[in-house]
């Protein structure tokens, strides 16, 4: 195995393009190094992207933020403006592993590891985040929902890698939230995860909503049918009941040691509903802050 630590994106892309064997990107390494040590993969080339300054930055862009692929969860948590704009995305990312793992793990890595239970991904999908993919050809922007196709499988082509993730600007009175169910309080893999992002109008009616579910299908789901139920409503009890039922219906989980099909479907609805309530509370809070 060769280890390279280029200082520019183009240099990294060249290294990947030239490699005939198996090449892997090293960002936080919290998945990659575990896979290497357990013998799951034996890369011929590892490209460490943490020496590329641009990829270590959280940059303002068009009223939103571009988060470099080498930015750790701990760095995101310390970025007040990012936490204020996309609290659900940051809290989802901060659920990945321990404090030690947070010191290294990245959103881009969590996305490209392509686990159906990846915590930050439902929050990113709800946020309509867009990954910037670079490689031998011209860079392209790919909505996060289109980045993965199944467990461990991404739509990245040979030589390509995710350079950054873009979180868009928000309308007034917008909020997001991510909740997951695990049998304990920390350090576990989601049995179900739910991300909600929504916007309220002046009268408190929901004008826009997105729901994403994790760990209930081969890949993270965008559940438009459920989100539509929220739009135009005041998030009253009846609407939330329908919303939860639609989320449960959209979940297509498997039975495994962490949860049964029935349990996961039920919890999908429960978490979707709770996440929607938190997102709406946050949307109201941003309005109050704006008034001051």
């Amino acid at each position: 195995m060769r280890y390279e630590a280029p200082t520019s994106v183009s240099e990294a892309a060249k290294l990947l393009a030239k490699e005939k064997g198996l090449a892997r990107i090293l960002a936080g390494g919290t998945d990659l190094i575990v896979q290497m040590k357990s013998g799951m993969i034996e890369p011929d080339l590892v490209v460490d992207i943490k020496r590329i300054d641009a990829l270590k930055r959280i940059k303002k862009e068009k009223g939103g933020f571009r988060v470099g692929a080498a930015v750790s969860g701990a760095e995101m948590e310390e970025h007040e403006e990012l936490c204020a704009l996309w609290p659900g995305v940051v809290e989802a990312t901060n659920l990945i592993g321990s404090t030690q793992v947070q010191g290294r793990a990245t959103m881009a890595g969590n996305l490209c590891n392509a686990s159906p239970a990846a915590d930050c991904v439902p929050a990113l999908v709800a946020a309509d985040a867009v990954a910037r993919v670079v490689g031998p050809k011209k860079g392209r922007d790919v909505p996060v929902i289109k980045m993965t196709t199944g467990p461990g499988k991404t739509t990245l082509k040979r030589g390509e890698f995710v350079e950054s993730i873009f979180l868009p600007s928000r309308k007034k009175r917008s909020g997001d939230a991510y909740l997951r169910f695990i049998p304990r309080t920390e350090m576990d893999i989601a049995v179900v995860g739910a991300g909600v992002s929504l916007t309220l109008d002046k009268n408190g009616k929901c004008s826009d909503a997105r729901l994403s579910l994790g760990a209930v299908a081969a890949k993270v789901l965008l559940v438009e049918r459920a989100a539509k139920i929220l739009i135009g409503s005041n998030l009253d009890e009846e609407t939330l009941e329908k919303f939860a039922a639609a989320a449960s219906a959209a979940a297509k989980p498997i039975d495994d040691k962490r949860g049964t099909v029935d349990f996961r479907k039920k919890v999908s609805g429960v978490l979707a509903r709770r996440a929607a309530i938190i997102a709406a509370e946050r949307a109201m809070t941003t309005e109050k802050k704006g008034k001051k």
Binding site: A5, L26, I33, V34, K37, S98, T99, Q100, R104, E186
Partner: protein, 164 residues
């Protein structure tokens, strides 16, 4: 495999070493530099026994490559005491008997030190969450948490004393 030459700083001292590209930082610390205070528990980032800081950031040494340390600042348990003088956390761990077999202890100390640097007055809940990635199979955690809380309280008292 050709070895990689790394120049780094460990516990404030400049250090140079050669390592294999797939050596972890933990392999390097223990097997090449004989800094065996950092323990190997799981080797997969689950137990926190190998906690160190890289450029001040708490991480698992088993989840970083030795080659990555080039130009960085690494701090390990060996740098915690100043000569014979123990760090307040080390004193409190002894006082509260916050250890039995001791394998997890260096990791807990490094992680707790990192917490108190970031948040000098953590609540019990904050301490428990921060240390959730450090596993101990002996103590049941309570004495460890008490020791960290007591250290925070004492260090706070000392800071106040200095101000007045």
């Amino acid at each position: 495999m050709s070895q990689i030459h790394v120049s780094t700083t460990i516990n404030g001292d400049p250090v140079e070493y050669l390592c294999e590209p797939d050596d972890t930082l933990l392999d390097v610390l223990r097997d090449r530099l004989s800094l065996t205070g950092t323990k190997e528990g799981c080797g997969s980032g689950d137990c926190g026994a190998c906690s160190v800081t890289i450029d001040g950031r708490l991480v698992c040494a088993c989840l970083a490559l030795g080659a990555e340390a080039d130009g960085r600042k690494i701090d390990t348990i060996e740098g915690m005491a100043e000569g014979e003088k123990l760090h307040p956390l080390q004193e409190k761990f002894l006082e509260h008997a916050a250890l039995q077999c001791g394998v997890c202890t260096p990791g807990f100390l490094v992680a707790a030190k990192s917490l108190l640097e970031k948040n000098p007055s953590p609540t019990e809940t904050e301490i428990r969450y921060w240390l959730a990635g450090n596993l101990c199979r002996c103590t049941g955690y309570d004495k460890i948490i008490r020791a960290v809380m007591d250290t925070a309280k004492e260090m706070k008292g000392k800071r106040k004393g200095k101000k007045s």
